[in-house]
Each structure stands twice: as C-alpha cells, then as structure tokens.
Point group: none
Chain length 224, copies 2
C-alpha cells in the first residue's frame, strides 16, 4: 500500500513513518502543504494522511485544491484537539476520515485498513454481455452510461437470458426462472415481459436485436 504523509512535525512524521513501514506499507513524506498537494496530484497513492495545521498551505486548502482537480485519493485528516470543529468542514470538502492527535499507532493502522477496504469494495455482482451490464441487487441495467430501472421479474428473466447468451432458452425455462412452477401463470404473461424488456433495452445501432425470438422454441440473448 502506497501512503502519502503530509505532516510538518518531524517527530510525529518519523513515528508514523516507522509504524506504517512496520505494517508493510510504502511511505512518502512531505513536510509542507504545497509540496504535499503536488505529490498527491502527481503520484499514485492509495491513501493520504493530511495534517490540518501546516506551514504555508493549511490542510483544508490542500484538501480543497486536490479535490477540485479531480483527485479521488482517500484522505485521512490528522488534527489536534483544538481544531476538531473544523473537521466537519474537512468532510464537506471531501475528506474520508479523521483522527485526533495524539493517537495510538494501532488506531491509525486500523483506520488506514478501514479506508482502503471501504473504497475498494462497492463493486456489486454484475452480469455483462453485448454492451449491457445487469446489476441484480440494484435492479438496474446499464447501457453505455445510461441506467435503466427494471422490475424484479424483469431482472429474473433477463438474468437467465444473459447467463445463457448465445443459447436458446425455452419458454418453460424462463417461466420456471420467474415463477418457480409453470402452473398458475397464463400463457402470454411471458410475452408481455419479453416485450417490456425489449422496450426498455432498445436494440442498438447495428440493427441486430438483443433478444431474438426462436419460433416455437424460446428466446436468445445476443452474444457479443
């Protein structure tokens, strides 16, 4: 893990540096705000630890600067007790967490781990095929940036079709996927859902339909 530490107090910096290295991280240190901001914008860091009180450029200004330049590196603020009220301001400017000095090294390490864990996940299970991504937890499909809301039944059917892309899926299989058993559901209910899916996910420019009908058998989801 590459960590950037921006801290002017060399005693604290050395301490933190040693602790982080012992935990297996690579640490870069900057003693000034302006330099730190540049390093953050240039370098590829996984986390930045940013002191609130710095000579020249305050921690808040650094924060504001890098965030305004589309830097998304997770930032953990280090602050003395007397500037705790300013912490909210920091969060408003895009900080990810904060820690009050003096702090135990273990707590800092735990926070760093927490931050990286938090920013790294957030990739839900998604099925992808033919330029369409299906997020079944959120029940949405994404097609070249555009998000399309789907109902639960639509997701259930599209999921099977996409999973079996390039293969014919029979009407019976689809009904089973959506309703469990084939009874209790009238004949054309499935047609209605296929229609709704086709409407929501309009065919792309190539003219090739996404969901093709195989007469007398079932449906096929386009492969590639």
């Amino acid at each position: 893990m590459n960590i950037l530490l921006i801290e002017d107090d060399k005693r604290i910096a050395a301490l933190v540096d040693r602790g982080l290295r012992e935990d297996g991280h690579n640490v870069s240190i900057s003693f000034s705000g302006t330099e730190g901001a540049e390093m953050m914008l240039g370098g590829q860091y996984d986390v930045a630890l940013l002191d609130m009180l710095l000579p020249g450029m305050t921690g808040l200004s650094v924060l504001e600067t890098v965030r305004s330049r589309r830097c998304t590196t997770p930032i953990l603020m280090l602050t003395a007790v007397d500037s705790v009220p300013k912490v909210l301001e920091a969060f408003d400017l895009g900080a990810d967490d904060y820690l009050v000095k003096p702090f135990l090294l273990e707590i800092l390490l735990a926070r760093v781990r927490a931050i990286t864990r938090r920013t790294k996940n957030a990739v839900p299970p998604v099925l992808q095929a033919s330029g369409i991504a299906l997020d079944r937890t959120q029940r949405v499909a994404v097609r070249n940036g555009q998000t399309v809301a789907l109902t639960s039944k639509q997701v259930a059917l599209l999921e099977v079709l996409m999973y079996r892309r390039g293969l014919v899926t029979s009407r019976e299989e689809l009904i089973e996927a959506g309703w469990g058993t084939a009874d209790k559901v009238k004949a054309n209910t499935l047609d209605v859902y296929i229609h709704s899916l086709r409407t929501k996910l309009k065919d792309d420019e190539t003219g090739r339909p996404l969901i093709r009908t195989v007469h007398g058998t079932g449906y096929i989801f386009a492969n590639e």
Copy 2:
C-alpha cells in the same frame, strides 16, 4: 448503537439510560435476569450492560445462559464493591469488561465506546457520501456548509444507509439497525423515518434522489 441494560435498581437504570441516550445510543432496559437473557438472545444489541445482582436469575447465570447459546454480544458487567471477587468468574464465563458501582457516567461511556471499538473495528465517527457528511456523535448532517440537525433514530438509519452507499439495504436490516429487533414496531414506522430523512436532506440539483426506493426490497443511498 443499540444497548441493552439489565439492572433491577430503577434509580440507577434511569440514570444510565439517560446518560447513554445523551451520548446518542438507543437503550432497551430489562429489570429482571430472565427477561434480560431472552432479550439478549432475541434482539440484536451491540453491547449489553449486565448487573451482577439481580432478582431471580443472577448476572452470572444470565451470562452463562446466553454464552452457552452462542450469543456473542459484548457484555459489560456492573458490580458492587463487595462482589468484586466474582468478577474473575464472570470473565471466565465470557464477560468483556466490568465496572464497579458506583461509577461516573463518563467512565461508563468511555468503556462502552472502547468495547464497541474493539469489537466493531472502528466505524469512523463521521460518514461522508454524495456531498453529505454525517457526524453521529453530534447528530448532525452537513451539506455544502449547511448543518441539519437529526434525531437519534434518523442518525441510526442514515448511518446504515450511508455506510452501505451504492448497495441496497433491506427494510429488515434498517429496522434491525434502528430498533434492534423486528418486533414491536409497526409496519410503516420505517416509511415515516425515510420520509423525514428525505425531507431534511432534500435532493440536490442533479435531480437524482439521495435515498432511492427499491420496490419490495429496501432503500439505497446514492453513491457519488
């Protein structure tokens, strides 16, 4: 934070209850050991405060009972000076910490914080997402400089939603987070709170709703 207090002395119970509430926690109280044990096994509490001397079932028996049934809720024992020797026994049965009565409220609060930090590995005190910062100790949300006051229940729910930003959170999970157990709370109570949150944190200019409904499933807090 959902806390269960098992204490037969109503004077002390009231005092502790008030203190914990002021610190932003949800408190459930039981005056008897048997009831307390059941609540602990049933409900989803983050910490339990357990008096040693109880009518009917002693604190130690409660401890033994719940631990034998695979209950891992952190337990902090409350004990009078004369039963301090029994504390060792309590630790042997799976207690996490103890406190001698009479105690200062602040000390209890610190212990509770310490226990939850130890077990829950430090959820940061301020959550930030989609231009909103939530300070759950002060019970306020900040949005581009503007501070919005929230009630404890609102914070409990918003906290879960923000922590799981970008992911769907089911109604059951939310109810569990706010009330511990799913019983005892009528169906639409959650809707009312969601409504209050949406009213207080009005959607931003982009038109994208901050808290989106996933019909039949739950809610989702906007990511980014």
